[in-house]
Each structure stands twice: as structure tokens, then as C-alpha cells.
């Protein structure tokens, strides 16, 4: 039993570190983890879920706006991407945040092609992150179920 926990814990640690190293997450995610305590044990999961819902909504908003060929409301796209940037920055979704910055620039220069391309990338990126974090939470759950403690991961 202990070996299973240790194995899971190691897996969790490695996976977390890989997420940081591959640039999916940054320090802000660590900040979030800090906020999770006995009073709000699922804080990170809650925030992240909210974030992904937000992503879905904002991305579909932007996609709709960009679909209006010939009459694209860049301002609308801009405000959405600003929101998304703020959210991703707050949860520490580093890659999404980076793409948002690029998308914002494209939007400011009314570069339609760039916007579409960036948006596609954002879509892919947030879905990837979602899957990865899902894996991470699953690992956490497994550890808890096995009776172990979630290890502190130093980045």
C-alpha cells in the first residue's frame, strides 16, 4: 500500500513538474495551490473549472465575431481576449496567457488571419491544458483514496 502511495506521489510530482517545465503552468498556479486549505479543499479545481467554462464561452464568442466575414467586430474580440488574458493570468495558465497576448496584438492591428490562427491555437491549448489538469486531479484523487497526502511540489 505504501509503495503504491509513494509511486503515485512520485508520479504526481513528476507530472506537476513537467507541466511547469513545458510551460503549461506558471507560479500563479502555485499561488492557487497555496490558497487551497481545509476550509476550501477543492479550491483549485473550482477555479480551474470556472476558468475552462470561461474559456469555452469566450472562445465561442470570439469565433462568432470572427465568422462575420467582412464585418469583424475587432473591439468585441479585443474585450473578450482581454478577459481571457486576465483569467488565464490569474490561474497561471501560462501558454494560454501567452497566446492571448499575441491574439490581442493581432486584434489591435486588425490582422484577421492572425486572429483566426491564434484563436485556433488558444482553443487547442486550453483543451490540452484541461486534459492535463484533469489527469493531475485524477492523480490527486487516487493518492487521497489510497490514503496518502498530496505532496508539496517545489518548482
Amino acid at each position: 500500500m505504501d509503495t503504491l502511495i509513494a509511486q503515485l506521489q512520485r508520479q504526481f510530482r513528476d507530472y506537476t513538474i513537467s507541466l511547469y517545465h513545458q510551460g503549461f503552468l506558471d507560479d500563479q498556479f502555485t499561488e492557487l495551490k497555496k490558497l487551497q486549505d481545509e476550509c476550501s479543499p477543492d479550491f483549485v479545481a473550482e477555479v480551474v473549472t470556472l476558468f475552462f467554462e470561461d474559456c469555452e464561452k469566450l472562445i465561442s464568442n470570439m469565433a462568432r465575431a470572427l465568422d462575420q466575414t467582412g464585418n469583424v467586430d475587432f473591439k468585441l474580440v479585443g474585450s473578450s481576449v482581454h478577459q481571457l488574458k486576465g483569467s488565464s493570468s490569474s490561474v497561471g495558465a501560462k501558454r494560454v496567457k501567452g497566446l492571448c497576448i499575441t491574439l490581442k496584438e493581432c486584434c489591435d492591428s486588425q490582422n484577421y488571419e492572425g486572429c483566426v490562427r491564434c484563436l485556433q491555437q488558444v482553443d487547442i491549448e486550453y483543451k490540452t491544458l484541461k486534459a492535463k489538469l484533469q489527469d493531475l486531479f485524477n492523480l490527486e484523487q487516487q493518492i487521497v483514496q489510497a490514503g496518502g497526502r498530496i505532496p508539496q511540489v517545489d518548482i
Partner: protein, 923 residues
């Protein structure tokens, strides 16, 4: 074919060569035969000729006949020759006669010619001396040349005829005789003519007249030149009196000038100089030039270039000077202007290059500073993560070794954070971003608070003293945050370098120092106008003194430099960033003051800073009471604000300095807790009736302050510990005690006086009551943010820090919320829909100034509850508004400050940033 022909010819040639080998006389016939046989076409014409000659030479038969006829012919020939000779003689004679005639005729002609020439010579004799008539003299020369040529010719003829006979000589004698006659005749005629000429000479004056005319013309020409040349020319005698003067622009008539000297003619500047110059030339006998500027009544200010040369007579004596002057005023002006222009240009160029250099350096410095600031900022975020994590880690269960390691880690992290904060502070001050605030504060309380804080973390047996002179106003206006920062810095510095004895702060009012006298006056009046208040300025001198190791004299100059400590040894021994004093100095100077230090090695140091403060005339401070006055009220010591003396003894073991709750675990053993925190230095307890003295003693109850400081610093992580402490009433709540602190504490405890039970209990009660008060008056915080996730994160962080907060989703909601209830702090997102943070802040500030929301209504914000005028109570207090910005670039922060925000947090918000912010703005 051609080839064949050629070979044929060659063969023939061979044959020919062969045949020529025969002797000539033998081979003639053969030759002949051979030649005859030769084809005719190939024979030379020359050969044919030789063949034809041969028969004529060979005819010898007619020779005697020929001899006879030859003899006859020769006699006839001699006859003929004689006859020819005779005829020849005759012809010669005739020719000679002819020649004689011709000679004679020519001589006559020559004579005539000579005559004519001589006549002409007489006429043209005199004009030759007149150089003006060069052409005539040329003509004359030409004539003479011709005459010479003619003479040579006749001679030649004579020589040619020398070979002849006596007749010739006779003839020649005759000729000469005739010539003599002719010559005498001619001489006679010439004499006649000469006398005639002499006679006519006197009567005929034509050449003289011509000469005179020429001279006159020449003079006229010269005169014209002299008159019209744009120069003044003159001739002066030995006494420098003018003999002649030519002036194109005469301002005086000639008779006014001639016979006078310069000095007699003009008056004014330059006249004497020119006179002296002329005299000098005359004496030295050397021509020279000089530029002289005249300022005379006659022609104003003019510059002349004067050339003077001495004049000599034939005997070599000086008889005067020639003088030539040209007006060069314009040229001189131009030249001077040009020189000035060139000089200006050079100066401007030098300045330009200097400026460019400065700009370059400044730019470089700015860039370097910007870089440093950015770097620091970038480092701070991850580092705060590291420290934060370490802090959290310290709340978990750790064994002793792990805890020690962790403590080292936290303290190192804190040091780095401190360093970075210092760098950012410095760069803020240097780049002028740092804005000073003017808020009312009570210097006594500030000093008290600083000493308390220091005492709370004191690990040495030092006594901290505060001494404030009576004349220091109860309330002054200044940037309390910065002043507190300076004091804290200096005090912690003093404590660091003091191992035993006292450390203290002394405040006193001084007269305006000389260094500030001129510039503060204007600044004061300006600010007074701005505030619309009648305020007086007061200068307060603050000494922070210690009895520590002191500073060697040679180290003092570099004390305030960045990253400098008195010595490398000190840096190792005492640690620190070396930035503290530099920041203090910069801050003090920013506030218009001065920071100085005096020190003696092993006796202690005193850092003195002098700052100007404004003193409000209004006495009401009801709205400005911070927790200390609250506390003082609560402790029923209303006169606390006027107390002039505080003393603190070390609170050993209360190591909340780092705010790390983990350290709280290694607390002190029971006995120490009973003594040290609640120690009384003097037997007499502070008495409201006793506070009139110059340096009356106020005994401060350390216990109360421990509680306070703990609440402040530990609330985020371990609020239970405070309760533990309260409830435990001095009970030990640590499992282990560090040997050093306990031994220190116990030794300290030995010298301490025990406080009476009664006092202790009464203090405990007060503490409890105070804590209750604190809990009920928790600071109200408003978060203005539109992003749900950001709200969620920030809220959770606030919870961790032990605070709750209200949420507004945009600027309008924020204004409505502020209108409804009062807040202690507002965290404001900058970029928001409906009404952004900058505008909202401006409107809130306008409300604070005017007491109404007119500006907001004008901006289109719908505020229905405006009629509730109860809010006016708060309007006098400035609400701290902290911006939350996505980018930390200078423009953005500038904008925040410009719109009335107090500070800014860069996004994403972290626990550390929030904690710092709350510490700064919630007291």
C-alpha cells in the same frame, strides 16, 4: 609557269657569271658572239651603247687631217681670244664708267638722305627726353639704325673693288675729292641750317608746350585718382602738419587741415593714438600699418587702417611722412561679428556635444535603472512564491533539523526580498515616480510604534528610548509612511550594530536650517495655495542614536552610498543589503530635508535627519485616530498623545519579526514569559497627572504591544496563536526553547523587576477588550474587478490573510458601494467595462474633495442614493485606492498615480503582494 621562268633566269645568270671570267680584250669577240646569240629581249640598253661606241674610237686613219685643221683652228682661236680680250677690256671700261656713275649717283642719294636725316635729327632731338613720347623716340632709333646699315653697304663695295688697277685708284681719288667737296659744301649748309635752327628754337616753343600739356594731363590723372580713391592720403611734415591731403569724403575743407596736426584738427578717441603712431614711424624710419578706431564728434565712430611711411630728402634726412588711411569700419564690424559668430558656434558645438554626452549617459543610466527595476520586479514575484511556500511549509510538521534549515531559508529569502524592495524603492525615488503624500500624523505615535515594532523583534538586551521635546506639535502633516520607513531603517540599523546599551529616537523642533531657507519658502507658499489651508511649517530634527560599535571616520563618506557598508567585514558579520541608508538619504532629500551622521568608534553613532513638516491649525483629530489612539482611549489615557518619553525593554523571544508563524513555535519557557513582556522599568507607573514634565516617563505595557504586533503580523497564517496567547495568559505555548534565547531571556529576567500581579491582570483585561474591538472593527475592503476568476482568487487570498471583502464588478458599482458604506481600502482593477478604474478613482477623489458626487453625475454615473448625506463624514479622509494593473510599465503606474491612486499591484495578484499592500495601508 612563273616558277619555271625564274629557274630559267637563274640558269642564264649562271652562264653569264661564267663568261665574265674571260679576260676583257680576249673575250670581246666571244662576248660579241655570245651577246649576239643572246635573245634581243634580254639585252641591257647600256650594253648596246657600249657596242656602238667602240667603232668611233677605233678610227685612226683621219688623224693627220684632223691635226692640221686643229693647228689652223688654234691660231684662229688665239686671234679670236685676243679679239675677245680686247672687246672684253672695252666692255670692262664701259662697265666701270657706268659703275662710277652709279656710285656717284648713289653717294649723292646717300648724302641727300643723310641730310634729310640730320635735319630730322635736329627736330626730334629734344622730345627724346620726354618719356611720355616713347613712340617718337622709337621712330628716331629706327632711323638711326637704317643709316648705319647704309654705311656698311658702301664699305663693302669699296672692298670689293680693291683688286683693280691704278685707274681705279685715280678714279677713287677723284671721287674722294668730289666727295670732299660735297662734304664741305654739306657742312657749310649744315652750319647754316644749325644757326637757322638755333634761331627758330627760341621762337618756337611747341615742344615745351606739348610737354607742359602732357605734364598737366598726368597731374590731372593723378589728381583724379587721389581724389576719387576711397582712401585718405596725406603728406605731413616733420612736425606732423599736413602739407597735402586727399580725401574722397572730405568733412573738412583743405584750408582747415593744411598746416595743422591731427590733434589740432580732431578731438576724441584714437586721435592721440594715430598721432603717436605717426610720430613713432617718423622716429623709427620704418613704414608700418595699424588699425585705429576713431571716435570723434566729426564723423562718429569709425575704424581706419592707416599706413604710414617716412619720407626722406636727397640727403637721407627725414622730412615728413606719407600717410594713407582706409576706412574699414564695416569690415572690422563684419570681422568682429564673424569672430563672435565663430566663437558662439564653437561654444554651442561644445555645449551640444556636452549635452549629447549627458543625454547619452542619462539614457544609459535610465536604461540601466529601468532594467534593474524590471529585473527586480520580475525576480520578486517568483521569490515571493519561494518564501511563501517556505512559510507554508513551516506550518507543517517538521523535525528540528528541517525547521532550522527552513528558518535559514526563510530568513535568506526575506533578505533577498528586502534587497529587491530596496532596489525598487531606490529606483522609484531616482526616477521620480515616488510621490509623497501629505497626511496628518502624530510624531509621538510614529516614534512609539517604530520603537514597539523594533522592541518586538529585539533579540538583544537593549533598551529602546523615545524622547520627544514638548515643543514638537501633536500633529503634523507629512508623508508618514516614508518617515516611518526612515525611522525603522535607522532604528534597525542602530540595533544591528549595538550589542549592549541603549538605542533611541529623539525629536525636537529646530529653527529653519540654512540649507533649506531659500527653496522651502516658495514651495511652502505654493502648497499652501494648493491646500487652501493656513499652515505653518515646522522643522523637526530627529536623532536616532545608539551606543554601538560606531563608525570609523574614514567610512562615513561612503556610508550613504548604495551597496556600501562600513567595511566588508561588517557586511559579513552583520549582513544587510547596504541599501538602507542610501534609501533613507534619498527619501529624506526627496522630502526636502537632510540626513547626517556623527559617530565615534566604540561609543556609538547618531543619525540625524531634519525635515520640514506642516502644522495644521485645526485641532480636531477625531477622524485621524489610528489604532494607537484608539487603544490609548481604551486604556483611559487620553493624554497619551502628548507623552514625550517612551522606553522599551527587549521582548525576548517574541520573534515575529519575519511574520513567520512557524517561529512562533519556538517560544519561551514559562518563567520568561511572566517577566519580560510585561516589564516595568521604573517603579512609577504612568499617571495622567504626571505628564507635564520635560521628560516624564511613560511606562509602556509591552504585553499590549506584543499582542498588537502579533495581530498585525501573524493574522494571515496563524490567527489561533493570538488567541492562544490571550487565553493562556502568559502560558508557554512552545514545545522547545532555543538555548540561546532562553539563556538570554533568563539572564535578562534576573535583572528585571517583577510586575505586580495586579497590574498584570489588569493589562490582560485590556488586551482582551482591545482584541474584541479589533475584531469588530475589521478593516473593510472593496475589490473592484470584473473577471470572475480574478475575484475568486483574490477573495481566497484575502481569506488566507484573514480578511473578507466586498466585490464591485465595475467602476459604477464601486462608486455606489463607496457611497453606501465606508471602506478602509479599495483594490481597483484598471481595465473594466462600463467605467474603468482610472475614471472611477478620479470620481472618488473628486467626491472626497468636494463632498458631493457632482463629477460622477456629470460623467453619467447614476447614483440614486445621493441624497443620503451621511457620507460626508468620511469625505475628509483619503481612501487608499490600490490599482491592479496587467502591465507594470512605468506609463501605466504613472497613469495610476496621476488619476489619484495610491499604489499599484501588478497582476496576477499574489499572496505576498496582497500582504505587503495590506501591511502598508491597513494599520
Amino acid at each position: 609557269m612563273v616558277c619555271e621562268m625564274e629557274t630559267d633566269q637563274i640558269e642564264e645568270m649562271d652562264v653569264e657569271v661564267l663568261s665574265s671570267m674571260w679576260p676583257e680584250n680576249v673575250g670581246t669577240e666571244a662576248d660579241k658572239q655570245f651577246n649576239v646569240e643572246k635573245p634581243a629581249g634580254d639585252l641591257d640598253t647600256l650594253k648596246e651603247v657600249t657596242i656602238e661606241e667602240k667603232p668611233t674610237i677605233a678610227d685612226l686613219t683621219r688623224l693627220p687631217e684632223l691635226m692640221n685643221s686643229t693647228q689652223q683652228g688654234s691660231s684662229q682661236l688665239t686671234n679670236l681670244v685676243k679679239q675677245w680680250e680686247y672687246m672684253q677690256d672695252n666692255a670692262v671700261r664701259l662697265l666701270r664708267e657706268e659703275l662710277k656713275n652709279l656710285n656717284r649717283q648713289r653717294e649723292e642719294a646717300e648724302a641727300k638722305e643723310l641730310k634729310i636725316i640730320e635735319e630730322y635729327k635736329f627736330e626730334s632731338n629734344e622730345p627724346e627726353n620726354v618719356p611720355v613720347l616713347d613712340e617718337t623716340s622709337d621712330l628716331f632709333r629706327r632711323f638711326r639704325q637704317k643709316k648705319r646699315d647704309a654705311l656698311v653697304d658702301s664699305k663693302k663695295i669699296e672692298i670689293y673693288e680693291e683688286f683693280d688697277t691704278v685707274a681705279y685708284w685715280k678714279q677713287k681719288a677723284l671721287n674722294l675729292e668730289k666727295m670732299l667737296e660735297a662734304s664741305t659744301e654739306r657742312e657749310r649748309r649744315l652750319v647754316e641750317k644749325l644757326s637757322e635752327s638755333l634761331k627758330t628754337m627760341e621762337s618756337q616753343s611747341a615742344p615745351v608746350q606739348e610737354l607742359t600739356q602732357n605734364l598737366e594731363r598726368a597731374e590731372g590723372f593723378l589728381h583724379f585718382i587721389l581724389q576719387n580713391a576711397p582712401i585718405v592720403m596725406g603728406h605731413q611734415d616733420k612736425d606732423l602738419r599736413y602739407l597735402f591731403i586727399y580725401n574722397k569724403y572730405p568733412s573738412l575743407r583743405e584750408q582747415d587741415i593744411l598746416g595743422k596736426t591731427d590733434v589740432e584738427i580732431f578731438h576724441g578717441g584714437g586721435v592721440k593714438e594715430s598721432q603717436d603712431f605717426k610720430r613713432e614711424v617718423l622716429e623709427k624710419g620704418k613704414a608700418s600699418k595699424r588699425e585705429i578706431t576713431f571716435t570723434t564728434d566729426l564723423f562718429g565712430s569709425k575704424t581706419f587702417l592707416i599706413y604710414v611711411e617716412p619720407v626722406y630728402n636727397k640727403a637721407g634726412e627725414k622730412i615728413g611722412i606719407n600717410y594713407m588711411g582706409m576706412e574699414v569700419t564695416e569690415q572690422v564690424d563684419k570681422r568682429e561679428k564673424m569672430a563672435k559668430l565663430r566663437e558662439d558656434n564653437a561654444v554651442r558645438k561644445a555645449m551640444e556635444s556636452e549635452l549629447n554626452k549627458t543625454i547619452h549617459i542619462t539614457e544609459e543610466t535610465m536604461r540601466a535603472k529601468q532594467m534593474l527595476a524590471t529585473m527586480s520586479h520580475e525576480i520578486r514575484s517568483p521569490l515571493s512564491g519561494v518564501v511563501g511556500m517556505a512559510e507554508i511549509l513551516s506550518t507543517t510538521r517538521l523535525d528540528k533539523e528541517q525547521r532550522q534549515l527552513l528558518n535559514v531559508m526563510i530568513s535568506s529569502g526575506d533578505l533577498v526580498l528586502q534587497l529587491i524592495n530596496d532596489i525598487l524603492d531606490l529606483s522609484k525615488v531616482e526616477s521620480g515616480v515616488m510621490k509623497l503624500e501629505a497626511t496628518k500624523f502624530r510624531p509621538r505615535e510614529v516614534v512609539k510604534h517604530v520603537l514597539q515594532t523594533a522592541a518586538a523583534s529585539l533579540k538583544k538586551s537593549l533598551t529602546l528610548e523615545g524622547n520627544i521635546a514638548d515643543d514638537v506639535p501633536i500633529e503634523v502633516v507629512g508623508d508618514v509612511l516614508r518617515i516611518r520607513q526612515i525611522l525603522t531603517n535607522l532604528i534597525s540599523n542602530a540595533i544591528k550594530f549595538t550589542h549592549e546599551g541603549n538605542v533611541g529616537i529623539k525629536l525636537q523642533v529646530i529653527s529653519e536650517p540654512s540649507f533649506a531657507r531659500d527653496n522651502t519658502l516658495t514651495a511652502d507658499t505654493e502648497e499652501q495655495e494648493q491646500n487652501g489651508l493656513t499652515e505653518t511649517s515646522v522643522w523637526i530634527c530627529c536623532d536616532v542614536w545608539d551606543t554601538g560599535i560606531g563608525i570609523p571616520e574614514n567610512a562615513i563618506p561612503c556610508l550613504f552610498k548604495k551597496y556600501m557598508q562600513a567595511s566588508a567585514d561588517h557586511a559579513r558579520k552583520y549582513g544587510g543589503t547596504g541599501l538602507g541608508l542610501a534609501i533613507c538619504k534619498q527619501l529624506v532629500e526627496l522630502m526636502g530635508g537632510q540626513l547626517t551622521v556623527t559617530s565615534r568608534v566604540n561609543e556609538g553613532s547618531t543619525f540625524t535627519f531634519i525635515l520640514p513638516y506642516k502644522v495644521g491649525t485645526s485641532d480636531d483629530y477625531s477622524d485621524d485616530q489610528d489604532e494607537f489612539s484608539d487603544m490609548a482611549d481604551h486604556q483611559s489615557e487620553p493624554d497619551d498623545t502628548a507623552e514625550g518619553y517612551f522606553q522599551f525593554k527587549p521582548l525576548l523571544g517574541s520573534i515575529y519579526s519575519n511574520g513567520g508563524p512557524g517561529i512562533g513555535n519556538d517560544f519561551l519557557p514559562h518563567k520568561v514569559m511572566l517577566t519580560s513582556p510585561i516589564k516595568l522599568m521604573n517603579s512609577f507607573v504612568a499617571d495622567p497627572s504626571n505628564n507635564t514634565g520635560q521628560s516624564e516617563m511613560l511606562q509602556l505595557e509591552n504585553g499590549g504591544y506584543v499582542d498588537e504586533s502579533k495581530l498585525e503580523t501573524s493574522s494571515g497564517h496563524c490567527p489561533e496563536s493570538a488567541h492562544q496567547y490571550e487565553n493562556g495568559n502568559g502560558r508557554c505555548f512552545s514545545k522547545e526553547s532555543e538555548s540561546c534565547s532562553s539563556s538570554q531571556a533568563s539572564s535578562e529576567g534576573g535583572t528585571l523587576e517583577m510586575e505586580s500581579e495586579l497590574t498584570v491582570s489588569s493589562h490582560r483585561e485590556e488586551e482582551k477588550a482591545e482584541t474584541d474591538l479589533k475584531e469588530t472593527s475589521k478593516p473593510k475592503i472593496l475589490l473592484v474587478e470584473d473577471n470572475k476568476i480574478n475575484i475568486m482568487v483574490a477573495k481566497s487570498m484575502m481569506k488566507q490573510l484573514g480578511h473578507t471583502m466586498d466585490i464591485a464588478n465595475n467602476g459604477v458599482e464601486a462608486i455606489t458601494a463607496i457611497n453606501h458604506s465606508s471602506y478602509d481600502l479599495v483594490l481597483m482593477d484598471v481595465c473594466m467595462p462600463v467605467l474603468d478604474g482610472l475614471k472611477a478613482t478620479r470620481l472618488i477623489r473628486s467626491y472626497e474633495e468636494t463632498g458631493n458626487w457632482n463629477a460622477a453625475i456629470e460623467a453619467g454615473v447614476d447614483i440614486k442614493t445621493l441624497e443620503n448625506e451621511q457620507v460626508c463624514v468620511r469625505s475628509t479622509n483619503r481612501l487608499p485606492i490600490i490599482a491592479m494593473t496587467a502591465n507594470t510599465l512605468a506609463e501605466s503606474s504613472e497613469e495610476c498615480y496621476a488619476n489619484g491612486m495610491d499604489s499599484f499591484i501588478s497582476k496576477p495578484v499574489t499572496l505576498q503582494k496582497l500582504r505587503e499592500c495590506l501591511q502598508q495601508y491597513l494599520h
